[in-house]
Amino acid sequence: MTLLSTSAQAAPPPRRQARFRLRKEALVGWGFAGPFVAVFGLVFLAPIGYALYLSLFQDRLIGGTSFVGLDNYGEALTDPRFWDGLVRVGLFLLVQVPVMLGIALLAALAIDSGRLYGKTFFRVTIFLPYAVPAVVAGLIWGFMYGTQFGLVGNINDALGVSLPDPLSPSLVLASIGNIVTWEFVGYNMLIFYSALKVVPRSLYEAAAIDGAGEWRVVRSVKLPAIRSALVIATIFSIIGSFQLFNEPSILQKLAPNAITSDFTPNLYTYSLSFSGQQHNYAATVAIVMGVLTAIIAYAVQLRGMRKG
C-alpha cells in the first residue's frame, strides 16, 4: 500500500522533468539549427518568395504596377523566345554532358589504373581549368576563336587555310560546349576518381582470381561501384547546362549577332530584367526555368538510382 502510494507519488516528477528536458533539448537544438535556418530563410526562401510575389504583377512604363495573377506564367509558357532558349540549352545538354562526363570518366579510370606515369601531374593539369573563373575562361577562348586577330585567324594566315568561324551562328553553341567541357572535365574527373579510390581493393583481387581482364573489371566492378557518383555528376551537369550564362554572356560581345539576348533562358531573364525593366516577367521566367530544372534533375535522379 505504502509502496503503491510512494510510487504513485514518485511517478509524476520524472515525467514532468522529461517534458522539461524535452523542451530544453528542443531549445538547444534550435540553438544549433537557428543560425542556419535564419540564413537559409533570408538568402534562400525569401528571394524565392519575393520572386513568386513579383511574378504576379506587371509593371509598365505607362500605367505603373498592377496585379495580373497568373498572366505572366501564361505568357512565359507560350513565349517563343523562352522556348527557343530552352531547346538550345536542351540540345547543348544532350551533346556536351555525355562528351564531358565520358572524357572525365576515361581520365579518372586512367589515373586509377595505376599504369599512368606522372599521375599527380596529369591530375593537376586536367583539374587546372576548373580553377580559372568562367569569365576569364570565356575571354581566353573568345580570343582564341577570333578569325580576325585571334588564334584561328593566325592559323588561317600561317597555313593559308580558312577554318570555319567558331563564333558564327551555326558553330557558336559547339564553341561554348568546348569551353564548358574544358572547364569542367577536371572537376568531374575528381568526383569519379575519389569514388574509385574507396572501392575495396579486395574486389579487384577477387575479380583477378576469377580471371577477369582489365575491361571486365571496369565494366563489372568499377562502374557499378561509382554509379551514385555518376548520377550526381550528371545531375550537376544538367543543372549547370540549364544555368548556362557566363560563357555566352562573355562571347556575346565578340559575336553579338550569333548570341542573341535570349540565347539561353538565363541570359533571357537577365536581359528582360536589366535592359527592359521587365522585372516581373523576368521573375516569372526564372521560376518556370527553376521548376523545369528541378523536375528534370529529379527525374534523372530517380531513373539513375533505380536498381537495375
Binding site: V43, F44, P47, I48, Y50, A51, L54, F57, D59, R60, L61, I62, G63, G64, T65, G146, T147, Q148, F149, G150, S168, P169, I232, I235, F236, I239, F242, Q243, K253, L254, A255, P256, N257, A258, T260, S261, D262, N266, T269, S271, S273, F274, S275, G276, Q277, Q278, H279, N280, A282, A283, A286, I287, M289, G290, V291, T293, A294, A297, Y298, Q301
Partner: protein, 446 residues
C-alpha cells in the same frame, strides 16, 4: 538514402534560388516618389546655405567642373560617383528611383536614354528653375533632345556631331580619294579591299546607335513620339536609302566583322586594317588614348553625303545632366547642372577635351583654331563645328530606346551573319519594338 535525397533536393532548390536571385536583385514598383514641388526656386539662398550634391556620371571633365564649383561656393560639397557607364548607370538609377532611396541629385543621361526617364516622370522639369533662358545657348540637336513641349528635362553636357575619320596613310598608299558621298564610300571600300584583302573600309557588327545615326543623316525619321503616342516606321525613304547602301557593303563583305570597343577593334584601328570611322566628334580623345601608335596617320573629313552636294549631318552619342525627382536638394542640384553645362563651367570642360553643346564654345576662336597633333596638326574642330550646325532637325528617339537598342542584334543583327536582308531585319526590329511599347502601355502606330 533519405538524407541523400533531401540534400540533393536542396541542391536543386539552391539552383532555383540563384536563378531567382538575378531577377530579384532589383526592385520593381517604379511609382512616382512624389516630392514634385514647383514654384519659384530660390537657388541663391540654397547656395548660401550649402549642402551636399551627389552626381552620378562617368564623363571625365566633370571632375574639373566640380572642383571649380566648390571653389566658387565653398559651402557646397559635390560628390562625383561613377555608378557605371551607360546602361549600367541607367539600371542603377532606375533601381534607386524605384526603391525610393539612394538616388543621386544629378545624373548623367545620354540623349537616347533620356526618354525612358521623362516618360516615367522620374526627372525634374528644369524650366521653373530658369532653364528656359538657355534655349538659344545650345546647338539645336542636343537642345531638341532634352526638351519636350515646354518642359526641359535636362541640360546638354556635350554633343556628338558626326564626322568621317580616315587613315590617310592607308588612303594614300592605295591612291584613294576621300569619299564625299556614300556611293563613293562604297567604291572606296571595294577598291581598298581589292587592293589588300586584309583592309576593310570600316568595322560593323550591327550597332543600333550608329545605324540610327546614319538613318538620321539620310533623312529618315522612324520614331515619332507624342507623349504616350509612339510611331515606329522603318519603311520611310531615308531608312530605305541607308539600308540599300549598307546592304551592298554587307553583301560584298566589305566591313570588318569586328565589334567596336573590342581589343580587335583597337588593333585594327592601329594597324590600318580598319581604315575609316563615321562617328561622333567625341572620338579624338579615344583615338589619342586608345590608338596612340597610329598618331599622325589619321585625319578628319566631313561625313559622306547621301545626295551629292548636301551638307547634312547627324548626332552620334552625347550626354545631358538631369536632376532626378528623388533628389534631396534640387536647388543645389540645378545650380551645379547649370554651372557644369553653361558659361565658364562648360568652357572649362571643353578646354579639358569635352565636345561642346554650347554655341558660344563651338564658335569661339580658341576652340576652332585648336590644332590636333594626332591628326597631323589639322584643325579638326572646324569640321566638327560645321557638322554640329548641319545636324538634321526633328529627330527623336523612343521613350524606351535603351531596350530597343538591346534587341537590335537579335533582329537587325541577322543581316550581318545570314542571308536576311537589312530591310527585313529592320522590320523585325520594328515589330519587336512595337510589341514592347504596347506591353509597356504605349499607344503604338506603325
Amino acid at each position: 538514402m533519405r538524407t541523400h535525397t533531401t540534400r540533393r533536393l536542396l541542391g536543386a532548390l539552391s539552383v532555383l534560388a540563384t536563378l531567382t536571385l538575378t531577377a530579384t536583385a532589383c526592385g520593381s514598383d517604379a511609382s512616382d516618389t512624389g516630392a514634385g514641388d514647383s514654384g519659384p526656386k530660390d537657388i541663391n539662398a540654397a547656395l548660401e546655405k550649402g549642402g551636399k550634391v551627389t552626381v552620378w556620371a562617368w564623363e571625365p571633365t566633370l571632375k574639373k567642373a566640380a572642383e571649380d564649383f566648390e571653389k566658387k561656393y565653398p559651402k557646397v560639397d559635390i560628390e562625383l560617383v561613377n555608378a557605371g557607364t551607360g546602361d549600367k548607370q541607367y539600371t542603377a538609377l532606375q533601381n534607386a528611383i524605384a526603391a525610393g532611396s539612394g538616388a543621386p541629385d544629378v545624373a548623367q543621361v545620354e540623349y537616347y536614354a533620356l526618354g525612358q526617364f521623362t516618360i516615367a516622370k522620374s526627372v525634374e522639369d528644369l524650366s521653373p528653375y530658369g532653364a528656359q533662358r538657355y534655349g538659344t545657348s545650345f546647338t539645336s540637336g542636343p537642345w531638341n533632345a532634352v526638351t519636350e513641349d515646354k518642359a526641359i528635362y535636362a541640360l546638354p553636357m556635350d554633343s556628338g556631331p558626326m564626322a568621317f575619320f580616315y587613315n590617310k596613310k592607308v588612303f594614300d598608299k592605295h591612291h584613294i580619294k576621300v569619299p564625299t558621298t556614300w556611293d563613293e564610300y562604297v567604291e572606296a571600300a571595294r577598291t581598298l579591299h581589292k587592293a589588300d584583302p586584309k583592309i576593310f573600309i570600316t568595322n560593323d557588327t550591327g550597332d543600333a546607335g550608329a545605324t540610327t545615326s546614319f538613318i538620321w543623316q539620310a533623312g529618315g525619321r522612324p520614331y515619332q513620339t507624342d507623349g504616350t503616342n509612339v510611331t515606329i516606321n522603318f519603311g520611310d525613304e531615308g531608312t530605305q536609302k541607308y539600308a540599300a547602301t549598307w546592304q551592298k557593303l554587307l553583301d560584298e563583305k566589305l566591313v570588318a566583322p569586328v565589334s567596336s570597343w573590342s581589343d580587335a577593334w583597337y588593333k585594327g584601328l592601329a594597324d590600318g586594317s580598319i581604315a575609316t570611322l563615321s562617328i561622333g566628334a567625341w572620338m579624338p580623345a579615344n583615338l589619342t588614348s586608345g590608338v596612340a601608335s597610329a598618331s599622325g596617320d589619321w585625319r578628319v573629313a566631313p561625313l559622306p553625303q547621301w545626295t551629292k552636294g548636301d551638307k547634312v549631318s547627324a548626332e552620334n552619342g552625347g550626354s545631358s545632366l538631369a536632376v532626378p525627382k528623388a533628389a534631396k536638394n534640387k536647388e543645389l542640384a540645378y545650380a551645379f547642372t547649370e554651372f557644369a553645362t553653361t558659361g565658364a563651367g562648360a568652357s572649362a570642360r571643353v578646354a579639358q577635351g569635352s565636345f561642346p553643346a554650347t554655341r558660344a564654345d563651338l564658335e569661339s576662336k580658341a576652340f576652332l583654331d585648336t590644332k590636333f597633333p594626332y591628326f597631323g596638326g589639322q584643325q579638326a574642330n572646324q569640321i566638327f563645328a560645321e557638322s554640329a550646325r548641319n545636324v538634321g532637325a526633328d529627330w527623336s528617339y523612343l521613350p524606351f530606346q535603351v531596350y530597343a537598342n538591346s534587341i537590335f542584334n537579335d533582329t537587325v543583327g541577322k543581316a550581318y551573319v545570314s542571308s536576311t536582308k537589312l530591310t527585313d531585319g529592320l522590320k523585325a526590329w520594328q515589330d519587336a519594338s512595337v510589341k514592347y511599347g504596347k506591353d509597356q502601355g504605349f499607344t503604338v502606330n506603325k
